[in-house]
Symmetry: C2
Subunit: 337 residues, 2 copies
DNA sequence: TTAATTTGAGCAAGCGTTTGCACAATATTT
DNA sequence: AAATATTGTGCAAACGCTTGCTCAAATTAA
């Protein structure tokens, strides 16, 4: 309670040395002899000294904090990314502070403001699905805070980017369906302002065409990722005279929803309808039938993002400033035959 | 890049006032006239001033940061708690910084050290499942950082606690099974050093007895929450001459695992075997049959924890320092008849 | 032995805000 | 009109740590 916090000055006084010496000793400066270093370390231990990071940050002009911006914390993929970032961060003596945007640009801007005020050393972010204009990021960059974007990135800003091969993932998913005999493949997409969904759509289209099939009218449906839109698409498709024999969804959640709806509508999966989603989750294993998916290497993306940001902070701009991670096709029962 | 960061001194110089006046104006002190406040605010806006929180924190001896410790970020319940904390936190001008323990005491201690160094104003924590001794928390408390514990709490420390009614939840779950006609109910528990599991076990036992049934030998199984232990319990139970006709699991994950295993073993759910778990998750809705559960009010727990910590920080020790949240019985197909 | 280095430590000025106290300039009271 | 209270600002000292310089002592070189 009354333990008026202990500072390096207390150590200095007790040992009859200067505070600067204490500071240097504790920071293991080569300019202090091993002997006094030891004395100082001991005394620090003894009286329970604890470095005040706030003061240190102010003095050093460096907080050793990385700000992380993600849409949702409660999301399989994003929490993997966070783990990847965190693991590397602690190794390098960084702390991370997370902000959720709930996919809202406003929250995204607030997060950025907060990070800037907090003087984080760098920011790792996945754009909200709403985000079109990214001038708020440019502003941050201009004041000197390095930025790394992952997954939902923008090419309108010069910074390292870590992304997955959306095109290839979609291509593989659809090719897999076609190999299984599907011919009428529908695509449930996302908002078109978001690049990753464009790429997934392109992969879908190319896969259909390159495999000698037709792109059917009305079989590609853009959504805002809401449940409502998924319902609408499904009503449209399942009510058709000739319903699709496969659906490829642009997110893992959509895959789960679609599966539920199809089953409720009396479809047998995968016999009547095959399903595969871009993005995996634990629920994919529990749903019956288990749901095939394109798995994204979240942990790995987190690590690479952290590596990038560290280099940016150190001023070592590496050569390849955007890295594309391979995806993994996970075949489960929903697309098996 | 070269934008040498803008300070209140810059504003002061340009406006020919003292830095202290600028500070007061920006903090809306009543001691500054509306006129000069306005001039200062305008100039601040104009030259893009951004309060340096680090300096402010050092001066004020207050960071306005709350440290949050949870076992896993990627967990339905915990992320709800975090959302609850965060929503209230931003409203009160607090930032939160999250640390995952991955259910390891060592990580828990590290997190505490980091928070202490960062001079967080308060800590909200859910103990790791490994944690027995909590002297690391006591140490933190002694240096003056208030603590609030939730869910997995210890009564060996004097601080506000937010928990769910584990006893009642277990009691309700088991009573529900019995009402449905189950007579041989097994309980899959957790580590016994963890109070919440004891309470759940107690609720289970009392429900069985108060409903006129017998506690069957070998029907209560303690685990360390590992997959291995779940397998072992299931092998034991399902191999019995008379297998249980219902299983109540102490965590949501166990419920999911148990369901999978039972189905794989050829059991019809809920006809041969009813299942209900303490703890809900999205997968509970997707698994077939959908899984009944005791739902814990995570968001609400987060809010209450944040309220508590704010009061602690303000030095207003409220009266009721531990609050028990009611649970909700969610009946789905796995226990329906 | 003297001069040139090296080594170890201290001084003091920051880092950007906040805040108790002092103090003019007004406004209010006798 | 003089005395008192009020208002609006400024001064300067923190907050706790870091770091460029300076400098004495110890070491080495000449």
């Amino acid at each position: 309670m009354s333990k008026s916090t202990i500072t390096i000055n207390d150590i200095a006084r007790e040992l009859n040395v200067a505070p600067s010496t204490v500071s240097r000793a504790l920071n293991n400066s080569p300019r202090i002899s091993e002997a006094t270093k030891e004395r100082i370390r001991e005394k620090a231990m003894e009286i329970g000294y604890d470095l005040n990071m706030v003061a240190s940050s102010l003095s050093r002009q460096r907080t050793n904090i990385i700000g992380v911006i993600i849409p949702f914390i409660n999301n399989h993929f994003f929490s993997l990314v966070v783990s990847g970032i965190e693991d590397l961060a602690v190794k390098s003596g960084f702390r991370i502070i997370i902000a959720q945007t709930y996919d809202s640009v406003v929250k995204e801007e607030e997060a950025l403001k907060m990070f800037s005020s907090a003087r984080v050393d760098g920011i790792i972010a996945c754009l909200s699905v709403e985000t079109r204009d990214i001038s708020h990021f440019k502003r941050i960059k201009k004041v000197g805070i390095p930025i790394v974007l992952f997954d939902r990135v923008s090419f309108d800003i010069d910074c390292p980017k870590v992304l997955v091969d959306n095109y290839d993932g979609a291509f593989q998913a659809v090719s897999h369906l076609i190999k299984g005999g599907c011919e009428r493949i529908a695509y449930l997409g996302g908002p078109s302002n978001c690049r990753i969904f464009d790429e997934r759509a392109k992969g879908y289209k190319d896969a259909v065409k390159k495999n000698g099939l037709q792109l059917l009218p009305g079989y590609s449906f853009s959504t805002d990722l809401s449940e409502r839109d998924v319902h609408e698409a499904m009503k449209l498709w399942l009510g058709k005279y000739k319903a699709p024999d496969a659906i490829f969804t642009s997110t893992g959640n959509q895959g789960l929803m679609v599966t539920k709806l199809a089953i409720d509508a009396g479809f047998k999966i995968p016999d009547d309808l095959s399903i595969i989603s871009f993005g995996d989750s634990p629920s994919h294993e529990y749903i019956v039938p288990s749901l095939s998916a394109i798995e994204m290497p979240g942990y790995d993306i987190g690590r690479s993002s952290m590596e990038f940001i560290e280099n940016e902070i150190d001023g070592k701009k590496g050569d390849s400033r955007t890295i594309i991670k391979p995806i993994l096709l996970v075949i489960r029962s929903s697309s098996f035959r």
